[in-house]
Amino acid sequence: MEIKVVRKVLSVNEKMAEENRRLFSQKGVYVINVMSSPGSGKTALLERTLADFSKKIPCAVIVGDICTTHDADRLARCGVPVSQINTDAFGGECHLAAHVVEKAAQEMDLAGIRLLFVENVGNLVCPAEFDIGEDSRVVVMSVTEGEDKPLKYPLMFRTCHAAVINKSDLLPHLDYDLDQARANILNIRPEMPVFTLSAKTGEGMTPWLEWLRARIEEKASGTTG
């Protein structure tokens, strides 16, 4: 005999994500989930972003580098609170789930924080499926990867609100077709803001920083008004 169930398989995660979202909103924190394949430059992008923001906007970071503390160490040097998500030395987690973010957030003092970055595990597949209670998602791809990344990982690009094409300083040395890369992103999400920049040199950072600042202000006015 058949017994009807009709439930979302990830309903536990979704419930936890909603709780995170409520908590972050209460505290007036804008949360951005930063995702990419390994080595696209998430940490470098955050370092460069924090260098500009951290003196003006109180920031914090949750880092999902599950095997080492390398990324957390780099970001802590930016002078902001950093919470490291720990599993074991061979941690095989392929994404951050909402309850993991909740635990990391509990361990930090979010009072007064306006911007919380969550640097997800380097992976273009699994993190796309897991809501962590963020306000926005950004996907970072770099010019040393194929232009076709968006077409190969449509769910990731479809669920993000902005895309960064990083390592633009390498363009003169590569056959990378920037127009094609942009077109592929827009094919998946036609209205996505795309920022081509170099986190290393700082070239092209301004539009990204402005976009981010506008989101933080939107959130702040939403919670106070």
Binding site: M1, V6, R7, K8, L10, E129, L186, E191
Partner: protein, 125 residues
Amino acid sequence: MHEMGIAMEIIEIASQSIPEALKGAKVHSVRLKIGKLTAVVAESLRFCFDIVSRDTPLNGAVLCIEETPVVARCQECAGEWTLESPSFSCPACGSGKLMLISGRELDIEAIEIEDEDDAHANGGK
């Protein structure tokens, strides 16, 4: 890559869904609806499910997976279409403002428990 965790969630939800009167009955199958725009590989999920369902009421159950197509509705012209490739612009008016009405499902729909006669004996339907 996260199919193991998803398999465990399925077992948790399915186990909770077995009525008290039928505890101990064999679960034949679990009916799932998985959208094409979901980061789940059916074969990996089946593999993981077979492993983690051992020593649970779901041991030996089969996953019946209905794959749902990616269907979008244009918010400008209200047209609806099925996406065969990942291109998210309206084929009629070219707008990129669209809503996905199917394709992101990851739902557990029903479980099938043995057997009809037992079920009648227990007053089930």
